[in-house]
Amino acid sequence: MPDHTPPPPPSEPVRAGLTVALGLYLVGLLLCVAGNSASGGSALVRTIHGKLFAPWMTLPWLDLGYDTRLTHAVAEDGDHWFEIRRLDAPASQTVVLPGPTIRGERAARWRRLARATALGEADPDREALLPAAVGAGAFGPWNTHDLSLAVMRHLPPDRGDVRAGNAAVAGRDDEAYAARVRLVDGEVQLIERTPPAELAPLVREPGP
């Protein structure tokens, strides 16, 4: 038989303790949302959140902004993926990750890793860390010590351009990051490949 007896109400000290704990957590939750926003929190919020709440809310994976913007129609919102090619075996094929056979959440995780690799380059504290790590991690499975690592991204077309016939509905692909990663004397070397568009054009002075 189910026990339908209402439980005794919690005592005053228990209620007071729980109220303090819940209030503290709710303040922490709001500060985490405000402090982890993509817009960046204020110095005050960052300081309070960083010193008082991040130390104990990070470990349970609760120090989050939950700011799932889905899209702002910028390049970094496009799908990202890796293209890895062995450089010591020119005939080898380029491996795409996630490939067409990888689907669902598994594919989404590869896309997040590729996106973080490309976006990490804009962060001075994280620059080159992830490309070197991903490249080095690929040495074993691809049985090589010299490879080309590229992060590609898909740029969806503007609806107006598609309607006007100026763009294909499939959009176009763009190279977000590229580097050569190799192992020399046990040390991982990363040689970034600058996109041609970012190289200064050679301008010849007009002759007399």
């Binding site: 919690p10 109220t19 994976w61 889905l70 790590a133 077309p157």
Partner: protein
């Protein structure tokens, strides 16, 4: 009544008396002062014991989502976290917060990695079916979050929501209904447990997070022009790789349809975030959330995020609606 009588004597007295006594309610009883009303609301929200089955339902559905997310690591576990994996401990030391740590950090062999991963999966499976739930709910939350910390750059919005659900399950008595534990208890002749404070707090936290997550998503979206000019739905569905449904054809044909879907996505999120706090509105938005969040996830190319939010919406269902289904789930008292 007192106020009206005094009014016939002097106006000044009326003002004094009116401010000194609370306004009468339609039932004739004096309403509590505002600070008491807020205190009462707080007490009712957090400290009215709740029956076991709503959290039990959240446990089953949330456990299934957690298992799906957990399984998504299986194929690439060694490629990412193995001894020669892409996400090395050295990279993590430089990448993640100094407060973060993972039980997988110390794993140095593929065998140990697979043992830890399999054990975590079994714990989540036990949590889902409700086996040894006082142990498996906190262990499941710990296992899940420790795997996320092993590769934070792989985690997505579905992981964030699922972590919240798992911790709430650990706080409440999630195994008191619809569980193997309950079956074992019934076999041993143990009485079903009734409403508990822990379950109420867990359900309260689920509702708070459901509202905050929906509000944060809506605010983040509204920082972008495409959510105001009505084209965001196009940019979502034009992502060839991650989209679940291709709506480019209908959106090319009708701009109004594209605008409608865009505004409906944000409008629903705002409605959900706010509606959970009004009892009448909650009767509509919580069931609506169970249907709408998976659709939002499908359009956004984040299906498990949508499903995880639908699980949060299950935890927000008003008690009387749950009561309709109560007898089918278990015979615990309706709360």
């Amino acid at each position: 009544m007192t106020t009206m009588n005094v009014t016939t004597t002097t106006t000044m007295t009326t003002m004094n008396v009116t401010t000194a006594t609370a306004a009468p309610t339609p039932s004739g009883r004096a309403a509590p002062p505002p600070e008491d009303a807020i205190g009462d609301m707080w007490m009712r929200f957090w400290f009215t014991p709740a029956g076991p089955w709503p959290l039990a339902l959240v446990r089953i559905l949330g456990g299934l989502v957690a298992l799906a997310l957990w399984a998504s690591y299986a194929w690439d576990l060694e490629t990412w976290f193995g001894p020669q994996g892409m996400i090395s401990p050295a990279l993590l030391a430089a990448w993640r917060s100094p407060w973060a740590a993972s039980l997988f950090d110390g794993v140095t062999s593929p065998t140990a990695l697979w043992l830890g991963y399999t054990a975590g999966g079994l714990v989540l499976l036990a949590l889902t079916i409700g086996l040894a739930t006082p142990l498996t709910t906190p262990l499941g939350a710990l296992a899940f979050t420790t795997l996320l910390h092993r590769g934070p750059m792989l985690a997505g919005p579905a992981d964030d929501v699922t972590a919240v659900i798992l911790w709430c399950l650990a706080i409440g008595r999630a195994g008191d209904g619809l569980s193997v534990d309950r079956l074992i208890g019934a076999w041993r002749g143990r009485a079903e447990s009734g409403a508990t404070l822990r379950t109420r707090i867990a359900l309260g936290l689920l509702r708070v997070h459901a509202s905050v997550i929906a509000a944060a998503a809506a605010l983040a979206q509204l920082r972008g022009d495409v959510w105001w000019n009505g084209t965001a739905a196009w940019w979502l569905t034009a992502r060839v790789e991650s989209r679940l449904v291709d709506l480019t054809g209908p959106f090319l044909a009708s701009e109004y349809l594209m605008n409608l879907v865009t505004h409906a996505l944000v409008g629903f999120e705002i409605l959900f975030a706010a509606g959970l706090w009004f009892s009448t509105a909650r009767r509509v938005v919580a069931p609506l959330g169970i249907v709408a969040w998976p659709l939002v996830g499908a359009v956004a190319g984040e299906p498990l995020w949508g499903l995880a939010l639908a699980v949060l919406a299950v935890g927000c269902l008003p008690s009387e609606r749950r009561g309709v289904y109560g007898p089918f789930w278990c015979s615990s008292p309706r709360t």
